[in-house]
């Protein structure tokens, strides 16, 4: 089975929040919450500046602390795509996973369970990309199987410079950010 991941090209991302809006409507994310968000980092002083814009979400870690700390098994790694998922009706809302996630990717849904990005599993099962990837007007997001050396995501990681967030946390994120200029 595939091991799904994302590659996001920071050279192209403009931080327009289309990914955030698409996720909200696709997944009926309740008011006041979001499963993905935009992070902007500016370095230097005017006018010698550089800026990195990132679309961020659950990193679907290969070494997921949220799964290890879950007392009920609600947070788990699914067979389909080896994705970190939550079974809502197993979740007791203890928030251990919220504390364990170094990325702040989880929130407590008003209905009481932990919630986060699912990579739009319902869309993946129909052969579609996650909503955020499919709407992006800058085409900066790529989705695919990281275990397939010929997938677009694998090829991008081979040909471009990339990074993951908080690698020191040892979570082995499956979202990779391209940081060099495209060519």
């Amino acid at each position: 089975m595939a091991r799904f991941g994302m590659v996001i090209d920071t050279a192209k991302c403009v931080g327009c929040m289309d990914c955030v809006v698409a996720c909200k409507t696709e997944n009926d994310v309740p008011d006041g919450f979001c499963r993905d968000w935009i992070a902007t980092e500016v370095t230097g002083s005017f006018p010698e500046l550089s800026m990195e814009i990132r679309s961020e979400r659950c990193n679907m870690c290969d070494n997921p602390p949220c799964v290890y700390c879950c007392p009920t098994g609600a947070s788990h790694v699914s067979e389909f795509g080896k994705l970190v998922q939550i079974t809502n009706d197993k979740c007791i809302g203890c928030k251990a996973c919220l504390a364990a996630c170094p990325y702040g990717a989880r929130f407590t849904h008003p209905d009481g369970y932990a919630d986060k990005c699912t990579f739009c599993e319902h869309r993946l099962r129909e052969g579609k990309d996650p909503a955020c990837v499919s709407v992006c007007p800058t085409f900066c997001m790529y989705f695919g199987d990281l275990d397939d050396p010929n997938s677009e995501v694998s090829r991008l990681l081979k040909s471009r410079k990339s990074k993951t967030l908080l690698p020191e946390a040892g979570t082995e994120p499956r979202i990779h950010f391209l940081t060099d200029k495209a060519k």
Partner: protein, 709 residues
Amino acid sequence: MSAAGGLPAFAHDALGKSEALGTVATICDVCFWKCGAVAHLRDGKLWKVEGNELDPLSEGRLCPRGTGGVGAHYDANRLKWPLIRKGKRGQEQWVRATWEEALQTIADRMSKLKADYGPESMALFTHGLGGSFFKHTMHAYGTPNIAAPSYSQCRGPRDVGFTLTFGEGVSTPERTDIANAGCLVLIGSHLGENMHNTQVQEFSHAIERGASIIVVDPRFSVAAGKAKHYLPIKPGTDMALLLAWMNVLVKEELFDKEYVDAYGYGFDAFAAHIAQYTPEWAYPKTGIEPSVIRETAREMARHRPASLVHPGRHVTWYGDDAQRSRAIALLNALLGSWGRKGGFYYPASVDIPAYPYPDYPTPRRPKADNPGNKYPFADGALTNGIREATTTGKPYPIKGWMVYATNLLEAMPNREETIRAIQELDLMVVVDVIPSEIAGWADVVLPESIYLERHDDLHLSWFRQPFVGLRQPVVESPNDQKPGWWIARELATKLGLESFYPWKHIEDYLRTRVESAGLSFDELKKHGVILGPKEPLYFDEGVPAEFYTPSGKIEFYSPQLEAAGFDPVPQFTAHEQPPPGAFRLLYGRSPVHSFSRTQTNPVLSEMENENEVWLNEDIARRYGLASGDYVRLKNSEGTTSNPVRVKATQRIRGDCVYMTHGFGHSARGIFPKYKKGASDGQLITKYEVDPLMGGTGMNMTFVTLELEA
């Protein structure tokens, strides 16, 4: 299903799941770009809106506003039913009315205006595709006074500057070939924050291809973050930079000589004039070092003719905007980019005949916006001219306004002038979807169905891929809102103009037009778009190099400008700079809002609920301000804004502040945004009128900071 709705069937797309899913292809209207969209229904309710993959503008991907368009339908703050004013104008006190009462009130007053002052005394202000049938009704009624802020408060000067040079404007969607540009120069254009979908998509492709991007902006925009060269120009001095760039191209003989020889007129006189504008001359004005001016000019020359100096869109900045746009046109001409791949392509559209209506009556008087041809190169109607005519009664009285889908109090400079004009009116009608500021000043407010609930006229824009698009309803309106075509038709009927509406339902009108072009209306309904045959885009693909100027050539030197008493070659005008302690107010676009029209959309509001005032971090520190603190902005005439949150940042010069447009509402009906953030529309009381074409330069406001206790 209402007669007005005429919803197309969507059940055929149902996937047989527990939830009945369906789709309808339509056209987005959250901004004016008119991207093809596919609306998805779940159990008969609107679920989400995605791009239509068949549509050449969106390529299947909408911008965040289009994606969030679903919120416009569910917006609890929409106008719900017709309203008739009680109490004084502007007090926002209303009586709920039926459509019959509201339309009869308007028709009675319009009939009286026609009898007392002539039909020319009625003016229409309009924006977007939905205005089509209101224009039709107004033409049938007999008035020539139809204006849009998109001309004299936005892109008018740009198209005048380009027409004076190439004989044609840039139009919309811009005919810029960003997708193929080797070098892209953006002057104030903040693509990526400004989400004109096709432009942003092509911008991203340009980044991917490694195009050389040069960004000129007092603010380190998102686009600046993608640039090879960022030029942090002093506001108000763009003309000096443009002249110096042209000076380098001419002096170093880097321009496209063959192209200029073949197509140019008056080049020698132009070159002689431009010789004085050296980079050293421009440096103290612009703050851009001569070496950088030279380096960037050479960079453009290296990539020519695929070197695109973007003409911008909202270019009403300093009142010499048509001349600045002409300088941009001339720079492109030197680079040989007009009519060339990676520069400006030649767009085409699908040819669909107009509906065979009776001839409109000929107005007895010309339009009132530009008496005596004061602005000789105005090729569109001036909203500010109509406003002035309304206030002064000259050249003749304007006594009725109909305002369709444009919040004039935010769009036009100097709110007091607009309100003063409104006080002269016998009839003030606003057709809108939300209770905007301008709706608050109406006598009668007519609530329109949003785009996902209505048909509009056909979408026929000029683009690299000709196409026709259809807006059609997806869901019914939740209250007593009606589609614009229905409102315009009913009003015409009450005015005794029913002969101008020989069709009963808009689908009859649309079908007649589409089928008269030999196309299938049923196919258009099903797919939302029909593509036309591709045509050549560039000179080397066979586009004839014809220029519709008086000389038939690209006018480096403009005899028609000279004859009218203007500079035949652009010159630099020094604009007033802010006094010590004051900042120039600059404004721009948010990726998640379109002007003020999206301000009550719950989905988009959640993305950005109030605007911030960008202030240079070092300056902020001197005031003891940090990000998150609130200040008020006070302009030099004493107008003070709402409290607005400070964004203390390195991303802006110290002599200006910046905010996104559309916030800080004074209309109580806009509950979620009432007094949230600051309104540039309120603060811009001072403006400079472009002497060529009457556009209003709106970057002339200086503000000081009033610290909140």
